[in-house]
Structure formats: structure tokens, C-alpha cells
């Protein structure tokens, strides 16, 4: 039974991966990528990693893909005529390497290593999320905190990058010489509505 699910997930994941690369419109690519991510979550459930599957659905399919679609619709991209580079030599080389890799994988004897202590029965008896939480907060606490720092840096970096030039300009002007600020404010505002609200906005902008 699980073999049927495995082949279904594998087929749909690979097909939607190809479609992600091959579709012309970026929105269609994003939707194919959502399909791929959900089927990868199905793989995780087959591998008894329910918490990872939930994180995959919530964070990847829920948050990251929404971010992608936001940006695609914000930029209002047109579908281009030529979407591909003509790099057939490079593609052929990559494809050859991958075929070799798959052949090595298939022909090699089954992979084995030193088994860990978290056997299937133990994880199931404790509960997967609980076992994962105990491990991450006992053995991997420092990497966990570093990931938090990394996410904070990414947030600040993204905000600083997309700050509008107008806002920076206004702040630079306000910092350089606050003296010529009031006349520009008075003349630039539309008169009928700029009596009370405009002053409030101008005061907050400095």
C-alpha cells in the first residue's frame, strides 16, 4: 500500500517539477511548485516525519509560496517570448552527470550506516513531535538559536533593501537641513484636504 503512495508521490513530484521549470507564465510556475511541495510533504508522512510534513505545508506551501506569488503579482510580469537560454551543451552535461549518479545509486548495494538510537518504535511511543522537540532543544540548541539570528538578519535585510527611495530622500533632506522644509510642505500639499491631515502626516514624516 505504501508502495502505491510512494510511486504516486514520486510521479506527481517529478512531473510538477518539470512543469515548474517549463511553464512560461511565472504564476503557473508558482502553482506547479505548490504541487511539488505538497507531494514532498506526502513523502515526509510516508517516512514517519509528521512534524516535518506539517512544517513543509505551513511554511513552504503556505508562507514562502504566498511570498513568491505576491512578488510576481506586484511586479506585474509579462510572459516573455524567449524563456529559455540556449545552453544545450551545459544541459547535456548536467543530464549526463545525473544519469551517471542515478546509475551508481541503483547499482550500489543498499546503503547502511551506524544506526542511531531513535528507532521507529521508540519515536512512535514518545510521539514524533515530542521526540523531535527534545532532541532539538537538548542537542541542537546552539544551531537553533543561530537560525533565529539568521532569520532576524534576513528580515532586517529584506526591509532595508526594499525601502522606497522617496522615504530615504525625505529622511536625508530632513537630516541635512530642516530649514527649507516648511515651505516645500506648504506648497506641495494639495490645498483643500491638506489642512489638518497633511500637517499631521508631515510632522510624522520627519
Amino acid at each position: 500500500m505504501s508502495a502505491v503512495f510512494f510511486y504516486y508521490f514520486a510521479a506527481v513530484a517529478i512531473i510538477s517539477g518539470v512543469l515548474t521549470v517549463a511553464f512560461r507564465s511565472p504564476v503557473h510556475c508558482g502553482l506547479a511548485l505548490v504541487t511539488l511541495l505538497l507531494h514532498i510533504a506526502g513523502f515526509f508522512i510516508l517516512l514517519n516525519a509528521e512534524f516535518i510534513a506539517a512544517v513543509q505545508v505551513i511554511v513552504y506551501a503556505g508562507a514562502i509560496l504566498v511570498l513568491y506569488l505576491f512578488v510576481i503579482m506586484l511586479l506585474n510580469l509579462k510572459t516573455e517570448e524567449r524563456v529559455f537560454h540556449k545552453r544545450y551543451a551545459v544541459i547535456g552535461l548536467v543530464a549526463l552527470a545525473i544519469v551517471g549518479q542515478v546509475a551508481i545509486l541503483v547499482l550500489r548495494s543498499p546503503y547502511a550506516g551506524a544506526p542511531g538510537e531513535a528507532t521507529q518504535a521508540l519515536v512512535l511511543s514518545v510521539g514524533h513531535t515530542r521526540a523531535l522537540g527534545i532532541t532539538i532543544f537538548r542537542d541542537y540548541l546552539l544551531p537553533f538559536e543561530l537560525i533565529g539570528l539568521y532569520l532576524l538578519a534576513a528580515i532586517i535585510g529584506a526591509i532595508v533593501l526594499v525601502k522606497t527611495p522617496a522615504m530615504q530622500e525625505r529622511r536625508a533632506q530632513a537630516g541635512a537641513d530642516p530649514a527649507p522644509e516648511p515651505p516645500r510642505n506648504g506648497s506641495g500639499e494639495p490645498e483643500p484636504v491638506g489642512t489638518g491631515v497633511g500637517d499631521g502626516l508631515g510632522g510624522r514624516g520627519h
Binding site: A3, Y7, A10, I14, G17, V18, T20, V21, P26, C29, G30, L33, L36, F43, L46, L47, N48, A49, I52, V55, Q56, V59, Y60, I64, L67, Y68, V71, L75, L77, E80, R82, V83, F84, H85, I91, V94, A95, I98, Q101, V102, L105, L107, Y111, A114, P115, G116, E117, Q120, V123, A131, L132, T135, I136, Y140, I147, Y150, L151, G157, A158, L161
Partner: protein, 110 residues
């Protein structure tokens, strides 16, 4: 996509997952190499990260260790940060040049 070379196709081994992961990684790599749209290039990177995640969780399952799943969680967090910063860079470039084609973003070429 039979994998493992065994006669019984009903048992899914680690090799099956490794083959699927390799194929997905190849798709992502080819996407990075041949697409001209910056956003699709980022999406292809997400495909490659997912292939790596599938590998990590599969090894974690078959080797009875939770370490691989924890690293997979970290990879998901790093992918989130990478998507945020990458998309911010795209927005900035699009605002300045009105281009998302990676061939036109060649200011640092020389």
C-alpha cells in the same frame, strides 16, 4: 524509476528515495541553468533545497536517527530567509531597471 534492482517492487528502500531526490535535484539545477526569469531561478533553487530535504529525512528514517529531520527543519528556515532576501533583491532591481531577466542584470559583469 524502479530503483534498488530488487525483484520485489512492493518494498520501498532508501535507494528509491535517493533516486527521486536525485531526479528532483537535476530538474532544479537545469532550471537554474536555462531559465531567464530571476523568479523562476529562485523557484528552481527551492526545488533543489526540497530534494536535499527529502534525502535528509529519508536517511533519518532508514538510519534511525532524528538528526536528519532537525537539519531538514534548519534547511526550511534557511530557505525562508533566502526567499525573503532574494525576492527583495528582485523588487529593488525591477524598480531600478524594469527587468527580471538575468541576462540584463550584468552590472557586476567586469
Amino acid at each position: 524509476m524502479t530503483g534498488s534492482g530488487g525483484a520485489d517492487t512492493d518494498v520501498i528502500t532508501l535507494t528509491h528515495y535517493l533516486v527521486v531526490s536525485t531526479v528532483l535535484f537535476a530538474i532544479g539545477l537545469i532550471g537554474v541553468l536555462i531559465r531567464r526569469n530571476f523568479i523562476i531561478v529562485l523557484m528552481s533553487i527551492e526545488i533543489m533545497l526540497n530534494a536535499a530535504n527529502l534525502n535528509l529525512v529519508a536517511f533519518s528514517h532508514y538510519l534511525d536517527s532524528l538528526t536528519g529531520q532537525i537539519v531538514a527543519l534548519f534547511v526550511i528556515a534557511i530557505a525562508a530567509g533566502e526567499a525573503a532576501v532574494g525576492l527583495a533583491i528582485i523588487v529593488v532591481i525591477f524598480r531600478g531597471k524594469l527587468a527580471t531577466n538575468v541576462d540584463q542584470i550584468n552590472l557586476l559583469k567586469w
